[in-house]
Structures are given as C-alpha cells and as structure tokens.
C-alpha cells in the first residue's frame, strides 16, 4: 500500500492562516482536512448586553478588510426590526459604500493573492519584480481608490463620519464625492486592462457540480438588499436563513461549516455565485469586463471566480460613478430610532459572499443574542469538497506542484480565515 501525505502547513496568501492535510492511500484520498486557525467567535458574545447603537462600531472591527459588510448587515436588520425609515438618499450612499469595499477587496485579491498563483510567482513582490510592476501598480491604484472612497463615505479612525442605525452620523458632501470622479473615470478604463490581463491566464479547470447561493434583486445587482436564491431553484429570505442553512462544528477546525439543513450538502457564496445568479443585472461595463476576462456564463467552475471579481469591480466602479453623479446628501443624515423587542435578521453581499446577521433585541434596545455567519464559514465545506474533486486528477504531480494547485483551489474562495486576528511572527534579536 502506498501512502503519501501532502501537508501544506500554511496556506499562503489567503487572509490569515490555515493548513491543509491530505492523505493518499493507493491513489485514493483517505483524509482531507482544511484546518482553519480561526479563534472562536467572541464577537457574538461580546455583543450581548450592548445597546443597539453600539453594534455598527463593534461589528466593523470583526473584519479589518470588510467592515462595511458587517455594518450594513447590522444596520439594515435592526432598522427593519425597529421599523425605522431612513432619510432619502441613505440607500444610495450605503450602496456607494459597498461599491468602495468591493473595489478595494477584489483588486487586492486579484493582484496580490491570485495573480502570483496563476503566473507562477511566489508572492506579490516576485510578481512586481518579475515584469508585472505596471500591473501591480495599476491594481493597487484601483484598490486605493476604493479605500479612499470608503474613507470619505464611511469614515476612518479620526473621521466622525460613519454608518449608524438610522442612517449616517454625518453625510459626506457632494463636493467631496465629486472629487473622486476623475479617478473613477480612469479606473473604468484600467479595469478593462485588468480583464485583458486575466483572460489569457493559464489556470486549472474544475467543472464540478455545485449549488451557488447569492442574493437577487429585481431592481439592481444586489449588495445591501434582496432575497436569497440558488442555482438549484431555492428562494428564501434572510428571516428564513437559519431554517435553510445550518452550521456544523467539525472536529478538525475551530470554524463552523455551513450546509443546507435539508440535504446536509454544502453550497457556494461569492462573486461567481452573484454573477451567475444576477447575470441580467450586470452593468454594460461589467458585462464587457466579464467577456474580456474570459468569463462564460453560466459556469460553476470555481476558477472562474477571478474573472467574476474583475467583472464585479467594473460594476462597482460604474455604479459608484452613477451614484456620485446623482448624489444629494441625505438631510438630516439620520433618523431617531425607537427600539422594540424582537429578532432582527438581514443578509448583504460582502466581497466574499453572502453574510448573515441576526440580533435578538430586548425592549430597551439591548442585544440579548447575536449570530453572524460570514461568507467564508459558508464556503469552508465546499472548499474541501472542491479539493476532493480536484486532487485525484493531479495526484501524479510532484508534491510541490500539488501543493500549489491545492492552494489555488482554496484561494478561489478568497477566504478570510481569521477576521480579527493580526500578528507578526518574527525571529530577530532583542532590541
């Protein structure tokens, strides 16, 4: 009996840290575990006893790279429970905020995490030094635009502007937003260059079966609003989320794996799911970017997610332009909230996929219980599923190549493994 183990101690270039254990006996995979060093979700207990008004600031800190996703899911859910009507213009401003986050997150992933993979470089530094300096600079330039737009609308450390339950603490001025227009115009041209860069990339294919899940909205490409749908015809609301999707605790991981409650099978959320389920809502530029990036819809191939991210960035840029040009600051920027007891539920589309929030609220507005299901949690089981499908076809490759291929399969999901931890490992002499 031949036995071979592939241990990838650290899956490089995903957000955070992870490990992959694969054991092959006589050509068959007998063990496959994606080990996630994610700490337990203290934030859910951290939120217990807090006043609802504190929630946006607290949840924004759960994920350093997608604070908007957390804030938006929270404020929408709570506003619905409290039957609050936000000022006119708030919807648009919140959509703009989400556009900024998609731009920033997708461009980071495409250029610094995925491109090194598919071009055969160890990391982004090697990529930049290996003849792709211009491409990296362009990617960072578009990313920076997303960062700056996000800071202008949603606030930064020293900036008092921020999303609150009821609207915004302060609405950014039209003049400040219009200052972004030239940069957005430039980026609209550059994103097509990104698409052209992505199209000829040699990447693996994995034409596996899967059920993709995303929000849908008859009026627009979904970000903050909509119900949920799947490629197998499911339709459900955020309020039904916990009946439809359930979380399993697996022994080898600190995280939780989501599966459908009725079948026990996993599903996929993310840019590919969104683009497949909302193809009709793609903006013209997004459609062009998708085609130029080599995206052929519909597809279930997870490796198509890179092109989907490029298409979504184009869409976000186009939407940002439209929203800014039509922008009139909501005045007043927020409404007073009268809390009531009950359960608040909502989903929004984070860069990595659908994110679900649930808050149980007491009559005085304090949170008695919170449940947050991030997109990466929902995708974890499917990552393992993909690996089980993909690896048998490449088991004959040498270990190093096999490792790289396994990493690529996981990176399709742009997983955010440890959303709130951040530390450096170092071995230098004591100062």
């Amino acid at each position: 009996m031949t036995h071979r183990s592939v241990e990838v101690p650290v899956v490089a270039r995903v957000e955070g840290e992870g490990a992959l254990h694969v054991r092959v006996d006589d050509g068959e995979i007998t063990r496959l575990e994606l080990e996630i060093y994610e700490p337990p979700r203290f934030f859910e207990s951290f939120l217990r006893g807090r006043h609802f008004s504190e929630v946006p600031d607290i949840v924004a800190r759960i994920c350093g790279i997608c604070p908007v996703a957390y804030q938006m899911s929270a404020v929408h859910g709570l506003e619905r429970l409290f039957e609050a009507e936000v000022p006119e213009g708030t919807r648009e401003l919140r959509r703009l905020l989400y556009c900024a986050e998609w731009i920033e997150s997708h461009m980071l992933h495409v250029h610094l995490l995925a491109l090194p993979d598919f071009l055969g470089f160890d990391d982004a530094i090697a990529l930049a030094r290996g003849g792709f300096k211009e491409a990296v600079e362009r990617g960072l330039r578009i990313k920076r635009l997303g960062n700056d737009l996000l800071a202008a609308v949603g606030g930064r450390e020293v900036n008092p502007v921020s999303p609150v339950v009821g609207g915004f603490s302060k609405a950014v001025s039209a003049r400040e937003l219009r200052a972004f227009l030239p940069r957005i115009e430039d980026a609209l041209g550059e994103i097509l260059q990104v698409a052209d860069l992505v199209a000829p990339l040699e990447m693996p294919v994995l034409p596996r079966d899967a059920e993709l899940v995303a929000m849908t909205n008859p009026l627009e490409f979904p970000m903050n609003e909509g119900d949920l749908a799947s490629t197998r015809g499911r339709l459900f609301t955020a309020a039904e989320f916990e009946e439809v999707s359930t979380e399993l605790h697996v022994p080898h991981s600190n995280a939780l794996h989501s599966v459908f409650a009725d079948t026990g099978l996993p599903y996929v959320v993310g840019p590919l799911s969104r683009v497949v389920l909302n193809e009709a809502a793609l903006t013209p530029l997004a459609r062009e970017a998708a085609t130029r990036a080599g995206l052929h819809l519909p597809t279930l191939d997870p490796f198509a997610s890179m092109a989907a991210r490029v298409a979504e960035t184009a869409l976000a840029l186009e939407e940002a332009l439209r929203l800014i040009e039509a922008y009139e600051p909501p005045s007043p920027p927020r409404v007073a909230i009268v809390p009531r007891a009950g359960r608040a539920t909502w989903t929004t589309e984070a860069p990595r996929g659908t994110i679900y929030h649930r808050y149980d609220v007491a009559a005085d507005g304090t949170i008695t219980e919170a449940k947050i299901v991030p997109p990466t949690s929902q995708n974890l089981r499917h990552m393992e599923h993909d690996l089980r499908e993909f690896l048998p076809g490449v088991l004959d490759r040498p270990d190093e190549e096999l490792t790289r291929l396994a990493e690529m399969v996981v990176r399709n999901y742009d997983p955010c493994i440890s959303c709130a931890t951040h530390f450096l490992r170092m071995d230098v002499e004591r100062a």
Partner: protein, 151 residues
Amino acid sequence: MIGCGSPEGGDDAAGPLAVRAVRARVGRQVEVVETGSPLRVLDLLEGADVVIVVDAVRSTGGGRAPGTLVRAKADGSAALPAELRSSLSSHGLGLAEALGLAAALGPVPRVVFHGVEVGTAQTGAPLSPAVEAALPALVDAVAASVEEASG
C-alpha cells in the same frame, strides 16, 4: 506613526493602544493611523519621510517571552528582517512583505518598527498581564522614535 492591530484581539491591541498613548504625548508632530491591515501601511508610505510602525509580534517556536519589546529598521539599503515576511496577518500580507512590495514599486521612506511579543491574540480577550506591563515601555520607545524623527 501607524498602530497595526485589532483593538479586540487580545494582545493584538498593543499597536493601536500604544499609538493612542503616544499621540497624547507627541501627537502634533506626526500623522497617526490605526489599522488592522499591514497592506494599509503600503498606502501610507507615500509622501512620508519616516514611518513608525507599532505592532504585536509572535516569534515562531515561542522563543520570546510575552511582553518582550523588539525594534527593527528598514531604509533604502536594508530591509526589515526576513522573519517579518511571514504572511500571518489577517490580510494575508505580513508587514515586511508589504514593505518589500512598496520597495519593488518605487522608493520607500525610512521605516522604524516597534513590536511587542504577544501572549495571546485571541479575539475578545483583554491584554495579557505581560503585554499590559510592557505597554508603558513600548510607549516610551515609540515616543522617542517620534521625537528623533521629528528633530
């Protein structure tokens, strides 16, 4: 002056906490940023003469006692120690990798790094006693760097 870390991340809060304290002492001389992402450091290098980064660190193999202060420098000729290259931040790019990328793309300013060895970086946990005890010394060291850079 950049405080890297997560205020709710146990000892990972050291960076932000330190820069807040330093800001109270010498804040007028320096632009202060708190961020959970080393990649943000890359954006902030532009236009700066000196960048002081404060962060929690963890040595591989646990060779360093929690609360130990560390310091490193990088300028045009010398990069941050290779050990800082590991991709163990929540953003997939370690600090040295972010700086390495910046250097690959163009000239970079002088970087002074101040770190404190973590005890625990668990979400929701308070500072470990060792790191809490080390914080004043860290603040002193960072403030001194700010004075030196501004002088």
